[in-house]
């Protein structure tokens, strides 16, 4: 984002932005509706993450290519049209790849249209950035979203069903912690991950400046 006086980030930074510094799930806390709803299993989480990444990359690329011809007054409508197109495409693709996944994700595939990460990227980034950097940024954001979903999905599947990617992990004596695959479990696990990420973030500056006398773990 070329604000005067600010250093233009390198291509690597563009890619890493979504993975760590601006992770859509853990830092920006965007798109929580699909995150909480489909992360009951790792497979669902991964498929949703990949579908969103596809839409994100496709739509931001198109927005970026057309950024100089789209009239400002109708830009949001145009973005929505482009995003809806890619969602329809991904809808057909998932049906062609696996009907089981399609049924499991249900309405959340169509709801990618209103996922705020995608519209946010189109408006805040793709509309002012050349295609290559846009695609890198979108890939990073998509990967960050997928990792966030997977982090929730695997924990919930392990605790709530004793499985990971459908493979049973524990013996027959394992009592599934059913609440973890129910909606409240989504909030518990999300809260725990946010706690971990924020703790990691606040810890780093403290460790870098021990001279200031911060007590560890304060």
């Amino acid at each position: 984002m070329a604000i005067p006086g600010q250093k233009i980030p390198s291509n690597i930074d563009e890619l890493l932005e979504g993975l760590w510094k601006q992770n859509p799930v853990f830092v920006m806390v965007l798109g929580m509706c699909p995150v909480l709803a489909v992360s009951v299993s790792a497979v669902n989480a991964l498929s949703m993450g990949l579908a969103t990444t596809f839409v994100l990359v496709g739509s931001t690329l198109l927005v970026s290519l057309l950024r100089n011809v789209i009239p400002r007054e109708v830009r949001i409508a145009t973005y929505i049209l482009i995003i809806a197109t890619f969602v329809t495409v991904v809808d057909y693709l998932i049906q062609a790849i696996s009907l089981a996944v399609y049924d499991a994700l249900g309405a959340f595939i169509q709801l990618i249209v209103v996922n705020c990460i995608i519209l946010g990227r189109a408006e805040a980034h793709a509309s002012k950035t050349p295609p290559l950097r846009t695609v890198l940024n979108a890939l990073g954001m998509g990967a960050g979203f997928t990792i966030g979903l997977l982090a929730l999905g695997s924990v919930r599947e392990i605790l709530g069903a004793g499985k990971l990617f459908g493979v049973t992990l524990f013996g027959p004596d394992f009592q599934p912690w059913v609440v973890m695959v129910l909606p409240p479990g989504g909030f518990f696990v999300l809260g725990a991950w946010l706690l971990l990420f924020n703790w990691l973030k606040t810890r780093k500056p403290q460790a870098a400046q021990p001279a200031e006398g911060h007590v560890h773990g304060a």
């Binding site: 011809v69 109708v74 049209l81 197109t85 057909y92 049906q95 049924d103 709530g160 129910l182």
Partner: protein
């Protein structure tokens, strides 16, 4: 502005049509596999599935458009073409959403011999007992769906009863704690069988072997 919007809309239209055309064959193949899987699960030993319509005018292969008041059913055959059983879909309102099931019908004994869940969104750990609870699945080993003597309806409607009070072969013993989901299955079977069987039973010889 209008020209730009036109260009964008054209690009989007081309993309959608390409995706639709490109995936259509795979989607149809997937749907067929999903259907076969659902049928084979309730009718063991079957090798292929034929779709039929049953309607007041008789039965017909489901290649043509649906006849008025038609109910779809599936005839499962073994590799030699001999009929192994008949399957049909039922649906009932569950706790969270519609529970769709596939049930197997044995025309010789006039009983339902098994069910499988096609789709449901019931509470994990509670509603999903309908396919894990062995005692509940025992209900569907020989569920009575005989027709009345005039063949217009089931002699006894399929009914879900409170857990532990099943007395007759046309009753379903509900799962304790998952009554709503159990009832959805009972209603799904009853609604479907009440419509399908009066059309199907008089025409059984037409689907016997092929």
């Amino acid at each position: 502005m209008i020209r730009t919007l036109g260009i964008v809309a054209t690009i989007c239209g081309v993309l959608i049509v390409t995706a639709y055309e490109g995936t259509l064959d795979a989607v149809i193949a997937n749907k067929k596999i999903a259907l076969e899987r659902a049928v084979f699960k309730v009718i063991p030993g079957a090798a292929k599935v034929n779709e039929y319509w049953a309607s007041p005018t008789g039965v017909a292969p489901a290649t043509a458009a649906a006849p008025e008041g038609g109910v779809k059913f599936y005839v499962a055959r073994d590799a030699a073409g001999q009929m192994k059983g008949i399957a049909a879909e039922g649906a009932g309102k569950g706790y969270a959403d519609v529970v769709r099931i596939m049930y197997a019908y044995d025309p010789a004994r006039q009983v339902i011999t098994g069910i499988g869940v096609i789709s449901m969104r019931e509470t994990p750990g509670i509603g999903d007992k309908i396919y894990t609870d062995q005692a509940f699945l025992k209900n569907f080993e020989a569920l009575d769906v005989k027709l009345t003597t005039d063949g217009k309806a089931l002699a006894h409607a399929v009914k879900v009863v409170k857990h532990g009070t099943k007395q007759n072969p046309w009753q379903i013993d509900a799962i304790s704690g998952a009554t709503v989901t159990s009832k959805a299955i009972g209603k799904g079977i009853n609604d479907s069988a009440q419509k399908l069987l009066p059309y199907l039973v008089p025409n059984l010889d037409k689907v016997g072997s092929k």
